[in-house]
């Protein structure tokens, strides 16, 4: 179970965004780290099927995304970088709408929703309009939404951007626990190096190419650096992220 990407390339006109990307991700917490414009969001868009793959292949849970989109989508949960909640509807209405798009009966969906919201300390906000929630709470609702249909693969595109430290810690520790408890494959894209732990599978991307992929502690050893920061700068030579 996981994600296998072979020779994936993508260009916006003449500008190459991804160049022959090869990746194999298994269950656990996988971090895709890279500076702005490295190709993270393009890769994310291709993985979610929102952008069509032209060159290369993406296999998710041993199924080709181009030919089995419906099956793959039913096993995939996604949290986009930009909020995709309907601000004028309540938390419950947003979550039930999403569940219905996956063909889940409202009664069954409500059981899942109540469970996930209680884990994310959001039960009391169930009937509130999303517009009244702060950024951290909205993010938690989006994570809850991505989990309603019990996915086997969870993709999160910079989910902690713009959040305070407390919300960031809550969200990242919750997702890490999910990996352990449910044994799912998580791909967490970020440009924040403090979100990477020694045991995480780390993928460093820069200028549309994968620079390194291994357990982060092993990568540090391999490149003879003390921490992720040094590793990141060694591989990206990027001053922007300082």
């Amino acid at each position: 179970m996981g994600i296998v990407i072979n020779d994936l390339s993508f260009a916006y006109g003449k500008k190459t965004a991804l160049n022959k990307v090869n990746l194999s991700l298994t269950t656990g917490f996988n971090v895709l780290l890279g500076p702005n414009g490295a190709g993270k969001s393009t890769l994310f868009s291709l993985l979610t099927g929102l952008t069509q793959t032209v060159h290369g292949t993406i296999n998710i849970n041993e199924k080709d995304l181009s030919h089995n989109k419906s099956q793959i989508m039913s096993q995939m949960g996604v949290v986009f970088q930009q909020s995709t909640l309907d601000l004028d509807l309540s938390v419950k209405q947003n979550l039930l709408y999403y569940a219905s798009l996956h063909g889940i009966a409202p009664r069954k969906a409500l059981i899942n929703i109540e469970l996930i919201l209680s884990q994310l300390s959001l039960t009391e906000r169930l009937h509130d309009k999303v517009r009244t929630l702060n950024g951290g709470h909205r993010r938690r609702v989006e994570i809850a939404r991505a989990l309603i249909h019990q996915p086997k693969v969870l993709l999160l595109d910079e989910p902690t951007v713009g959040l305070d430290v407390e919300s960031r810690l809550l969200i990242i520790s919750y997702v890490r626990n999910l990996c352990t408890e449910l044994g799912i494959c998580v791909l967490w894209t970020t440009h924040l190096m403090d979100e990477v732990e020694q045991s995480d599978q780390l993928i460093i991307i820069n200028k549309g190419e994968i620079q390194a992929h291994n357990q982060s502690s092993l990568l540090c050893e391999q490149y003879n650096v003390d921490d992720i920061y040094q590793l990141y700068f060694a591989l990206t030579k990027n001053a922007e992220a300082v």
Binding site: G49, Q52, Q71, I72, D86, Y97, A99, S100, G103, P106
Partner: protein
């Protein structure tokens, strides 16, 4: 995926569109005020100036108010279809369209559910308007109320599909103002909604021909006959064909291949 999954999905989409509609109370208000102004103010003024002689499906002389009722109902459906496409453009700009695109259910089915939701909302608005129209002595039989239901549904499917097609072609919310000038107004005014076509023929032959080729004319005529408890086969065939063509084009325009090319 079983039939139950499809059913829950459809109900979910209709519920969401209905909830959004009722959240925007001003939308219902403006949807009613527009045609009511036409009916009460415009039609009252024209009643004296414009007589409508005996014509199908009416068996006798009718008042101008009675004449424009089907046109105003279609105006409600037209505005609702365009409003729905506006909300699709908004959804795309705000990112919530991605949620719909991530559904494991097929896109044609999801768009059909959107059309059902649009049709349901249109039907509701049309019937509230028809109830209000009773106040100005517009008389519609019970049979007319019943036979109008499928006609309104079909017209709403057509105009909803047109709205979906437009929403896929419009890249920014700001560009939507053009829809008012280039779609809504020409469709409405170049039809039999406000004047019988024979009157138009007397005034200008080329405008008459434009009206003849406007599918909205046949929406109005389909509803005019339906409100009178009759069936107009020509109008039905043209509206049905227009619905199928527009719906197919809308489906193509929403396919990832097509949207990526643009």
């Amino acid at each position: 995926m079983t039939l139950n999954n499809y059913f829950y999905c459809c109900v979910g989409i209709v519920k969401r569109e209905t909830s959004r509609f009722f959240q925007q109370r001003s939308r219902l208000f403006s949807a009613l005020v527009r045609p009511l102004l036409w009916l009460i103010v415009f039609a009252a003024g024209f009643r004296a100036a414009l007589g409508v002689s005996i014509m199908e499906p009416y068996g006798t002389y009718i008042t101008y108010q009675e004449y424009i009722i089907p046109g105003l109902c279609c105006m409600i459906v037209l505005f609702n279809g365009m409003q729905s496409s506006l909300s699709m453009v908004y959804d795309r700009e705000m990112g919530s369209m991605k949620v719909l695109l991530m559904s494991p259910l097929p896109m044609p089915f999801l768009l059909s559910c959107k059309l059902i939701a649009i049709a349901f909302l249109s039907l509701m608005q049309v019937y509230v308007f028809l109830l209000c129209a009773q106040l100005v002595d517009v008389d519609i039989s019970l049979l007319g109320y019943l036979t109008a239901v499928p006609a309104v549904f079909l017209i709403a499917f057509f105009l909803g599909a047109l709205g979906l097609l437009l929403s896929s072609l419009i890249k920014q919310l700001e560009n939507f103002a053009g829809v008012m000038n280039f779609v809504i107004f020409p469709m409405f005014f170049l039809s039999s909604a406000l004047y019988p076509l024979w009157k138009m023929q007397e005034a200008s032959i080329w405008i008459y021909w434009l009206c003849q080729y406007n599918p909205f004319t046949y929406c109005v005529e389909l509803l005019r006959f339906a409100l009178f408890g009759q069936f107009n086969l020509t109008a039905f065939s043209i509206v049905l064909s227009a619905t199928l063509i527009t719906a197919i084009l809308a489906l193509i325009s929403f396919s990832p291949k097509f949207s990526q090319k643009r």
